[in-house]
Amino acid sequence: MSTKKSFSIPKGLATGIRTSIQSATTHHGQLHYDIMAIEAIEPDPNNPRKLSITKDELFRPLNKNDTHYEKKLKELTALHDLAESIKRVGIRNAIEVYKEDNRYKIISGERRYLAAILAGQNFVPARINQKFEELKLRYIQWVENINRQDLSLVEKYNNLLTMASAFTKTSPTPLTADILREILGISETQAYRYHCLLNAEPEIIDLVKSEKLTNLKLVQELSCIKNKSARLKILAELQKTGQEVTSLNQFKKLKEKKSSTASTIHLGKVSHPHTAKYLLQLILKDAKFNQHQARFATINWHSAKDINHAFKTLLRLIEQEFNRAESAIDA
């Protein structure tokens, strides 16, 4: 009989000890939370997402003549709602900050921060990060921002610009659509469209900035028009249009519809051939048109097709006559 005993640590306990150690060594400092004095915190001026309200405007009546008055009013109302909830239950999700030059700047949670000030709080819960390298910081802000429903294309563009400039600072290679897709974790199509936006010509950017161009897909379609003069023409037309345009197709349709309503006139339908005959004869009696009488002599007044054809010809002749008269006046 063997009397040799052997012992070991139970498997579950061993795993618990090992994984706890791994977690501590690899995620060191990642749950650094504190209750911070609100005055130690400030918004990050380089965060591409700009709230329309600033800290100074919280307690000042809004100026009605401000071009962003509506937007600001909406934002402020929402902040007051949030402040009410903060008064009742406090801030449930810590805001995220990083340290720079003895100040803490907000990575995410600017609205919670402003609402806390409105609610009269002196302290907020915060997750404190070390300063990230710039690209990573912009990336985190990008992720925070980009999935928001209420982000406009111009805000997305600003996001993208800061991301891109952070990228070019650290990388010798240009920022391609592929790299965009990789660092942002978005689809190929989306990455391609953002890349178009990033490299779009000033005319397109102007449209984006003036919020006439609000659709990313349209940006891509526009930058893909090879013929420069055609492209600029469409851009100029876009600049003029008052309607929201979401794609090139829609824009073309919109244009056609507009020109037809503006310049063509339907003369309407008649059901009796005599009406047509009467009109035709009346017009041909006019001095301007009686020279054409021979052309209409052989109409079969029982065939609608014949009559239609005849009227088309007649209308063309009348239009020709008026066009000639107009150009004569112009001259």
Binding site: S6, I17, S23, A24, G29, Q30
Partner: protein, 291 residues
């Protein structure tokens, strides 16, 4: 200044022995200024350096003796009763370290009843206060200036007082006997360490020096097997040095023992050699981080 806590939520695994070894190593051998803190209500660590008194009207009633500098007739001393324990920091009172018979070693003794009180707090705000109190005290410029090392003996628990020690520390060491129940206790401590390490800013790490096998019997299969299996799981966090089970540690604890520290034994003493090896390894493992 390094702050080393000796932790394990199991009792009787050698926390006080290791605390004592480190306090004396740094003060006697390395000639550094050392402050020993006794956060254990059992007050064994304090008792090695001070003659603790018993308050017979209190359970667990060890109280610090009258302070060397206390003079009843001095008007400057009117604000205190002449006894000072580390428990005072949890109550927002000043602390006066006691000089010990070792020149470079001062001690802030335990106070059983008051430490038990601090350990028993449950109200969230109070608990948070206890957590941070020791760290606040030890980060005082005055304290930083006065000492090179702070050695903290902790109670056998995972309660607020132990957590306060972890929060204050730069390094922790987990003494353990290589037996099943004690090793179960290691898990609790590793978990506390993890929580604290994740919580802290990354430029202020809490260094886990490692697990120090104590009361080790090289011929006991259960000790050998457990040590080996622990080394397999977490090779970087088990010390190579071990402290063997020896009577000498009890002997230097006894009243009137001569010499009064293991480091005052001759160099050829096997126990002293073993302890020196352990201390040197601990020092090395502290160099992972520079403070």
């Amino acid at each position: 200044m390094r702050i080393i806590s000796i932790v394990n939520n199991k009792g009787g695994v050698g926390k006080t022995t290791v605390s004592r070894i480190l306090a004396e190593y740094f003060s006697i051998v390395k000639n550094e200024k050392v402050l020993a803190l006794d956060l254990d209500p059992q007050a064994n660590f304090s008792n090695r350096y001070l003659k603790m008194e018993v308050d017979s009207y209190q359970e667990e009633g060890k109280i610090p003796p009258i302070h060397q500098d206390y003079d009843k007739n001095d008007p400057d001393s009117a604000h205190w009763d002449g006894r000072s324990s580390i428990a005072s920091i949890f109550f927002g009172e000043p602390v006066f370290p006691y000089q010990t018979y070792i020149e470079n070693l001062e001690v802030c003794p335990s106070h059983s009843a008051r430490l038990l009180l601090a350990e028993a707090v449950t109200r969230e705000e109070v608990v948070q206060k206890v957590y941070d109190q020791l760290a606040k005290f030890l980060s005082l410029e005055e304290v930083k200036k006065s000492y090179d090392k702070i050695i903290i003996d902790t109670p056998p628990s995972k309660g607020p007082v132990t957590i306060s020690a972890l929060r204050a520390s730069t390094d922790i060491i987990i003494p353990s006997i290589m037996e099943p129940q004690v090793i179960e206790g290691i898990y609790g401590m590793i978990h506390l360490w993890k929580t604290e390490k994740l919580r802290r800013a990354s430029d202020n790490p809490l260094n886990l020096i490692g697990i120090l096998p104590n009361s080790y019997m090289p011929r006991a299969i259960i000790h050998k097997d457990h040590l080996q299996s622990l080394k397999q799981e977490i090779p970087d966090y088990v010390l190579d040095a071990v402290i063997a089970r020896r009577l000498i540690y009890a002997e230097v604890d006894a009243d009137g023992a001569m010499p009064r520290s293991i480091f005052l034994y001759p160099n050829m003493n096997a126990a002293k050699q073993e302890i020196m090896r352990a201390c040197k390894e601990i020092e090395q493992r502290m160099n992972v981080y520079v403070y």
